[in-house]
């Protein structure tokens, strides 16, 4: 089928709800209205109100009860309407979901997914635009996955649902509907923890994920005479060190692009990883193109915050001409 990211997510949910009757979908406005972005459209009609539920306005209860259900052998797929409202439930991710297997020495596990749209660029209100994947990736035991294409959105979501441990599935809502591609019918998986090489090249490695992936590809297309290798990280944690370091070993140069604020952002971890493993192959300092160390501005000026192709182009040029 020809699908956008939102169609692909919807399709993945339908497929896994059909495949596994221990799956449940719940969250705010997901059932009756099909989700504020329509990601869960049609699930209530297809699977009934025992498996598809609207919850009260309680992020803590949504994530916490998902942990409880998961330890009982269910496969909860919870939605947090915007990732800006995840912080109250961060407690449940840190305190319970991510470590229940560890705490109980494997007696209890939490095979659950928390889906949440993240990122700027849709002109919403305050708290509707953040990118805190670095903070979530810092929690040991929590898988943090971020697809950037319809094909990956479906395949990675199905992997997340089947994963034996908790997955925070962050959806780049800025590109929910702006890209289309043909994706396979029926269930298929794309692995978590594996980056994808979007474009092979020799001169410089550019690593990105989510909505920034597309700005990065645009920037690379605009640069004549630079043969860039573009890596879509796809999973923040666990990090696919090998794909990144292999590429840098080849190119000797690297630029990391993310929308989240710079300080403490995940680019720092990538720089450190490269430093640990392939420092001596580097021919130039690694560049970071990131959001600024400020809250995402309100809608009238949010575009100033987000990295755009010209800024990415500048960073690549600087690295290549070092």
């Amino acid at each position: 089928m020809n699908a956008t990211i939102i169609d692909a997510i919807n399709d993945a949910l339908h497929a896994e709800m059909r495949n596994d009757d221990r799956t449940l979908v719940f969250g705010q406005d997901v059932a009756e209205s099909g989700g504020v972005f329509r990601a869960t459209d049609g699930l209530l009609a297809a699977f009934g109100s025992d498996r598809v539920l609207d919850t009260p306005l309680s992020e803590i209860a949504i994530v916490g009860s998902a942990v409880g259900l998961a330890t009982h052998g269910f496969r909860p797929i919870a939605e947090i309407q915007f990732s800006g409202f995840l912080p109250p439930a961060f407690d449940q991710l840190v305190t319970n979901a991510s470590r229940i297997r560890w705490r109980t020495r494997g007696e209890l596990t939490a095979p659950m997914v928390v889906r949440t749209p993240y990122g700027a660029g849709v002109r919403a209100l305050e708290h509707h635009s953040e990118s805190l994947e670095g903070a979530y990736g810092h929690v040991p035991g929590l898988t943090v996955a971020i697809p950037s294409t319809p094909h990956d959105a479906k395949g990675m979501l199905i992997s997340a649902i089947r994963d034996p441990d908790p997955v925070l599935f962050m959806e780049p809502k800025h590109v929910y509907r702006s890209l289309r591609e043909d994706i396979p019918e029926g269930a298929y998986t794309e692995p978590l923890g594996e980056a994808a090489i979007r474009r092979e090249g020799e001169d410089v490695t550019v690593v990105s994920w989510g909505a920034m992936m597309h700005k990065t590809l645009e920037a690379v297309d605009n640069l004549d005479g630079v043969d860039a290798e573009v890596i879509d990280l796809r999973t923040i944690s666990p990090l696919d060190r090998e794909t990144v370091t292999e590429s840098v070993r080849k190119t000797g140069r690297c630029v990391v692009v993310h929308e989240a604020a710079k300080t403490g952002g995940f680019a720092g971890e990538l720089v450190a990883t490269i430093n640990d493993e392939v420092l001596l192959y580097l021919e130039a300092p690694i560049e970071r193109v990131t959001g600024f160390d400020i809250p995402v501005p309100l809608l009238s000026m949010e575009d100033y915050y987000v990295p755009h192709p010209p800024r990415i182009e500048e960073a690549i040029t600087k690295t290549v001409s070092y």
């Binding site: 705010q28 209205s33 504020v36 009260p56």
Partner: protein, 385 residues
């Protein structure tokens, strides 16, 4: 050794345990003017004619503001907005009961109350245009908008605590919806307010929905008001489409709060419009239900009261309408006249003094805009500020 039973026999009915349950509470909904227009004369507040006119004027203002702001939004001149259509009596009745020294904690659906409190309409429009500066809420004791639902409730407790410590004759007044009552912040904020005995009023407009979720799925409790008892604060349930009843309820709550008893007020009303300009309510509720509530229109009910008490003749509705439309026009012009801002605005105010790294990032952005003016192709300054 494990002595606990493997199976548990059912408890006998005669052992005298009688759990508290929903039916044990009977909670009255306070009214002054009933939906058929009849009213309880002894409950009519003792106010001058000017005030009775004001209630009508401000409810009409709320209605016109919502209509016009929605049109502006449709033309791309405001971001997402949440209308108070249908909730005018709750918004205005509560706002009118406050002193300008009180602090309002808004969450977005209470334009009229904020304007009554001294906020300029220009600034309110600028806020919904996404202009950070408008969050100063200049000239009015209004906190920043709590877009994260419920997050402001403990803040109101803390503010009330401060007001009390300083011996000020003012309260913290938190606006919230029925959905907000399901957040942890609500429970913790109210409980702590009860423990402290601070001058706070938590005003919940139960408009029957949190986006698509009807109130009876938000909580298994029959009312919001009854939750007050669990936190050891006072509770009032009031007909939220009866402006005089809301005014009386909030005036009473304010008095009690000043005496050290925080109050949770539930105003029972109905959101007649979409949740926000990005919502389609036909996906989750019936037109019949909306029509039913249209018959309980707060303006019509109040007008019938004014007519019965001989106060309507002195009110020139057309003149009020004209005045409010002109006020809105002026506010839009003033908002449009606000100069475009520089990028330094985005970096300011995060710290009292900008740290060197942030200054460096600001410089980097400025340089980029100068060296790569094609960046502007990706910056859609819409809606314009």
């Amino acid at each position: 050794m494990d002595d606990s039973p493997r199976t548990v026999p059912p408890a006998a009915a005669d052992i005298g345990v009688d759990p508290l349950s929903q039916g044990d509470l009977e909670i009255e909904t306070y009214r002054v003017v009933r939906s058929d227009g009849s009213f309880a004369a002894e409950r009519v507040p003792d106010l001058d004619n000017e005030a009775f006119r004001d209630f009508y004027r401000w409810m009409l203002l709320q209605r016109i503001y919502d209509e016009r702001a929605t049109k502006l939004q449709r033309r791309g001149r405001l971001g997402t907005i949440a209308s108070g259509h249908g909730q005018e009596a709750s918004i205005i009745g509560s706002g009118y009961a406050l002193s300008r020294d009180d602090w309002i904690f808004p969450y977005g659906r209470e334009a009229g109350a904020l304007l009554l409190h001294g906020l300029s309409m220009r600034d309110l429009l600028l806020y919904w245009r996404g202009i950070e500066d408008a969050s100063r809420m200049e000239g009015a004791n209004v906190f920043g908008m709590a877009i994260s639902i419920g997050s402001h409730i403990p803040l109101a407790t803390g503010k009330a605590w401060g007001l009390e410590l300083d011996g000020e004759d003012a309260i913290a007044f938190a606006n919230l919806g029925d959905g907000a009552t399901s957040t942890g912040a609500f429970h913790e904020g109210l409980n702590f307010a009860g423990v402290l005995g601070v001058p706070a009023v938590f005003f919940c407009q139960n408009n029957q929905y949190a986006i698509s979720l009807p109130f009876d799925e938000q909580t298994n409790a029959e009312t919001v008001a009854q939750k007050a008892l669990a936190y050891g604060v006072d509770g009032i349930r009031v007909d939220g489409n009866d402006v005089l009843a809301v005014y009386n309820a909030v005036s009473t709550a304010r008095e009690r709060a000043l005496e050290g008893a925080p109050v949770l007020v539930e105003a029972v009303t109905y959101r007649r419009s979409a949740h926000t300009t990005s919502d389609d309510p036909t996906r989750y509720r019936s037109g019949d239900e909306v029509d039913e509530w249209e018959e309980r229109d707060p303006l019509a009910r109040y007008r019938s009261f004014l007519e019965q008490t001989g106060r309507w003749d002195a009110i020139d509705e057309d003149a009020i309408r004209e005045e409010v439309e002109a006020e809105f026009d002026e506010a839009v012009d003033a908002a449009d006249a606000v100069e475009e801002r520089g990028v330094e605005e985005l970096f300011a105010y995060l710290h009292e003094e900008m740290p060197p790294e942030l200054e460096r990032q600001l410089e980097e952005l400025r340089d980029l805009l100068e060296e790569r003016p094609d960046t502007y192709e990706f910056i859609e300054q819409r809606p314009k500020g």
